[in-house]
């Protein structure tokens, strides 16, 4: 009984159980379901610690090489250790160093990385909306209608524009989205089934 076979049996048993428990409201089943969810969260938390340790090991190895890149690995190692150690010593209260680092370093960097999208949306639009075929024309027109309809200037051009944009968003657009979602539903159900039946073994 190789370890792969054990894994496939576990995948089959838990898969069928989770599928069936969706329909059964018995107390025993619900408790087992909650326990499985707790197991998953615990395993995930431990794998994140494994991931953190692996990342630390990778950067420590780069650090030891003392080439021109190791200053960056030093930054990552210091940042990880700072967060972990400072939370142990000073806790994670509102004015702890841990919260200070989150509020003044991590949060601004994350918000700024997200805001890069404002620039990338424009450069992608410049390149992506070139009308080279009929479908490409429909793509550009739909985007322009919604863009104009949702801006103040759109209202000034004609007060029907916002309602036209609303109509496009709530009718043809939602219809096509449903066509896509049905496909995604079928595709993911088939993939999940292949995993449970052991046909899909890429994860082993």
């Amino acid at each position: 009984m190789t370890i792969n076979r054990v894994a496939i049996i576990i995948a089959f048993v838990t898969g069928i159980f989770m599928l069936v428990q969706y329909f059964i409201d018995a107390v025993v089943v619900n408790n087992l379901y909650k326990t499985l969810l707790d197991y998953y969260q615990i395993i995930f938390a431990i794998t994140m610690i494994v991931g953190g340790l692996t990342l630390l090991r990778v950067h420590l190895r780069k650090l030891v090489r003392f080439d021109r890149h190791s200053i960056f690995s030093l930054a990552t190692v210091t940042a990880i250790l700072f967060m972990v150690i400072s939370s142990i010593i000073f806790g994670t209260g509102t004015n702890s160093p841990y919260q200070w680092a989150f509020n003044n370093i991590q949060a601004p960097m994350q918000a700024t990385t997200f805001s890069l999208l404002a620039f990338f949306v424009a450069s992608a639009a410049y390149r992506g909306f070139r009308v080279r075929s009929k479908p490409a024309a429909v793509l550009a027109i739909a985007a322009l209608i919604v863009l104009l309809g949702r801006s103040i200037f759109g209202e000034m051009i004609s007060e029907h524009l916002p309602s036209l944009a609303g109509w496009v968003l709530n009718n043809p657009s939602v219809a096509a989205k449903r066509g896509i979602l049905v496909g995604i539903g079928l595709g993911s159900v088939a993939t999940a089934l292949r995993v449970i039946l052991g046909i899909e073994r890429s994860y082993l």
């Binding site: 989770m18 003044n104 990385t113 490409a136 066509g179 896509i180």
Partner: protein
């Protein structure tokens, strides 16, 4: 202007510098962000998952059931050594199997049945004899054509007859409307993100606003 605002400004400019080109200033910010986010998540997971759900029940309340997830979790540690990596497969199978099982009914309900029921609902309103405008009727029919043609487009083994071909081409046009409208619609909130950062830089830092 406090120290913390200055630090936040330096971090913001470091990330923005990537727009010009990749540079050491950005690379340092990136590596600090990686470290902080890993540290932040480790501490949060320790406090909100490991302590309440594993360590306290296992060691304080001596609830021996905690042994099972602990062992499964520890097999994950085996992955750090290639020769032992295969011992983590049972824990992996548990996670992937339960996820697969859970997704089948949930995906089927949310992605298929609920969507299709919503496309039929307007027709039921007509059937109930409700007072509906002409625009509503046209929109209802156009939406139905959209769902049907988009679904026909996604057939893998569809015969190449003229009728099926034209229906699926109609589906392509509906898909293009969806992609264009969604792009136009999401641009607003992406621009707002930059407005927030500029208000921080111009307001809190340079206090021009």
């Amino acid at each position: 202007m406090e120290m913390s605002t200055l630090v936040a400004v330096v971090c913001t400019l470091a990330i923005f510098s990537f727009l010009y080109r990749d540079n050491p200033f950005y690379r340092m910010a990136e590596h600090i962000l990686i470290g902080l986010s890993v540290g932040f998540t480790l501490v949060m997971l320790y406090n909100s998952v490991l302590v309440p759900k594993l360590l306290r029940p296992l060691f304080l309340e001596v609830d021996l059931w905690g042994i099972i997830p602990l062992l499964l979790g520890l097999t994950m540690l085996a992955r750090m050594k290639r020769s032992l990596a295969k011992f983590s497969k049972p824990a992996l199978a548990l996670m992937i199997g339960s996820g697969a099982g859970l997704s089948i009914p949930a995906m089927f309900e949310a992605r298929i049945l609920r969507q299709l029921a919503a496309s039929v609902e307007p027709f039921a309103m007509v059937g109930r004899g409700e007072e509906l405008s002409f625009i509503f009727i046209c929109s209802m029919i156009i939406s139905l054509i959209g769902v049907i043609s988009a679904m026909v487009y996604f057939f893998y083994t569809r015969p190449d007859t003229k009728l099926i071909g034209s229906i699926s081409r109609t589906g392509v046009y509906f898909l293009m409307i969806f992609f264009g409208a969604t792009f136009g619609y999401t641009v607003t909130s992406r621009l707002t993100l930059l407005i927030g950062r500029m208000e921080f830089l111009l307001g809190d830092f340079l206090s021009i606003l």
